[in-house]
Structures are given as C-alpha cells and as structure tokens.
Symmetry: C2
Subunit: 136 residues, 2 copies
C-alpha cells in the first residue's frame, strides 16, 4: 500500500481536541465516547465533527479502527503513518490495547490468499480478552 498522500488540511481547534482526547488514553474509544468526553470538558464540538476527524485520522494512518463484535467502531492513535503494520490485543471490558506483531501471521495470510487465487488482500487480526486489571 502506497504511503497515504495527505491532502492539505486546515488546522482547527476541534481537530486538535479530538486528537488530544485520543492521545490521552491508550485504549480504543468509540466516537460517541470521545464526543461525550470532549463535551464534558466543556469543549465546543459537534458529533459530526468528531466522526469526521476520526475518519480523517484513519485515512491518514494516524489511527487504527477496531470494529467491536457488537458493531461499534473504536479508534486509537497508533504512532504515525510510518509505523509498522501491527495488530492489537484488546481488553473486552476496558478497551485497553496492547500493540502486537506477528510476522508469521502476515506471511501466512498472504500465502493462504494466494493459494486460493485471492488478490488485493488485507486481513483483520484482533485478539480480545480480559486484561489483568479487569479480570480482578
């Protein structure tokens, strides 16, 4: 995948606020959640705007998305666009996430896909569980 070419964007308070909100935690958070937090902090921002920025972050490779089994999308900042491709070990309860790498998985996925004649492949690998804190 070619390094995402970033379009010219205007710097706005709202954009910064959303990024900060994400940066403040190492957990995957939903748009609604981020929105609520920002409003609670007295930030003046609309829900649409939160969604917009989250999507921009993902498009720019600044954030990762995880679609929870219940269908909700959660976001988390993940280094910059140059960060290596990785996956996550996510706590089902608190959303805390650990970045993990599995080179073997990558090659396995590509091989399997190729063997079956599939092209333009990508994959999702997420491990869900209970973190030590939440297990107590």
């Amino acid at each position: 995948m070619a390094p995402t070419q970033q379009v010219k964007r205007r710097a706005t308070n709202q954009g910064a606020a959303v990024k900060e909100a994400l940066a403040a935690e190492d957990t995957f958070r939903s748009a609604q959640d981020v929105y609520a937090t920002l409003r609670a902090n007295g930030e003046k921002i609309g829900l649409s705007t939160v969604y917009r920025h989250l999507q921009i972050f993902v498009a720019d490779g600044l954030a990762d998305v995880i679609h929870k089994p219940d269908g909700e999308s959660t976001y988390r900042l993940c280094g910059d666009a140059s960060t290596t491709h990785h996956h996550h070990l996510v706590c089902r309860t608190c959303g805390k996430a650990v970045e993990i790498e599995g080179p073997a998985v990558e090659t396995w996925a590509d091989k399997v896909a190729a063997q079956n004649g599939f092209t333009d492949v990508n994959h999702t690998v997420e491990i869900f569980g209970l973190c030590a804190a939440c297990a107590a």
Copy 2:
C-alpha cells in the same frame, strides 16, 4: 469452551427456511439479504424471525458470523458444532468464503495474550480479498 448445550427447540417452517437459504450458498450473507431472498421465494417470514434464527445458529455453533468492515453482520453455515475452529478467506465483493485453518495463529494468539496477562481470550482472524472470479 464447553460444547454448547443446546436447549430444546421447536421445529418450525421458518427455521428450516432460514437454514436452507444459508445452506444454498457458500457465501456469508447478511440477515437482510437472507430475508429478501426468502420473501422473493414467496416464503412467509418476518425479518425478526430471520434475525432470531441466525442468532440461534450462531449460538448453537451451526453458523459463523463475520462483521464486515462496514458494520454489517454476515452469516454462513459451517458444518456442525463439532467442526474444528477455523477462520475464513472472504471475497470482499461476492462474499464467497473459503474455510482456512492456521494452527500457528491459534497458538500465537494464546501465547501473546498470556504474556500480557490477558485471560478469557478469543480472537478474530479474517482475510479479505478479491476472489479470482471477482477480480476479472
């Protein structure tokens, strides 16, 4: 995970119809899709019922679910409850799915989780791509 203990269920036409609809294809299909197909075939069934049965199949281990990146849930019959744990290589366009196994992935997932103090672990591994037919 203990083999799902199946509760007593009544056999109904609708239940059978949903199962047949799924059995007719080796692709992951959405509830809405299955519903539309059944209605098109003149089947008398409600949307709620389709959802209900799909969920039952999943609970009974008869079907697998995949949450598409766009949030829609898709279902597919996958042998019976005794079938080995497996994953899927899914065509992004037509939904055609190939069952794949990756023993290495399983052990890797468990190991990584354990190393980070996570318990009660499960994982999602889905490979999306374009099948040979759709690539043309």
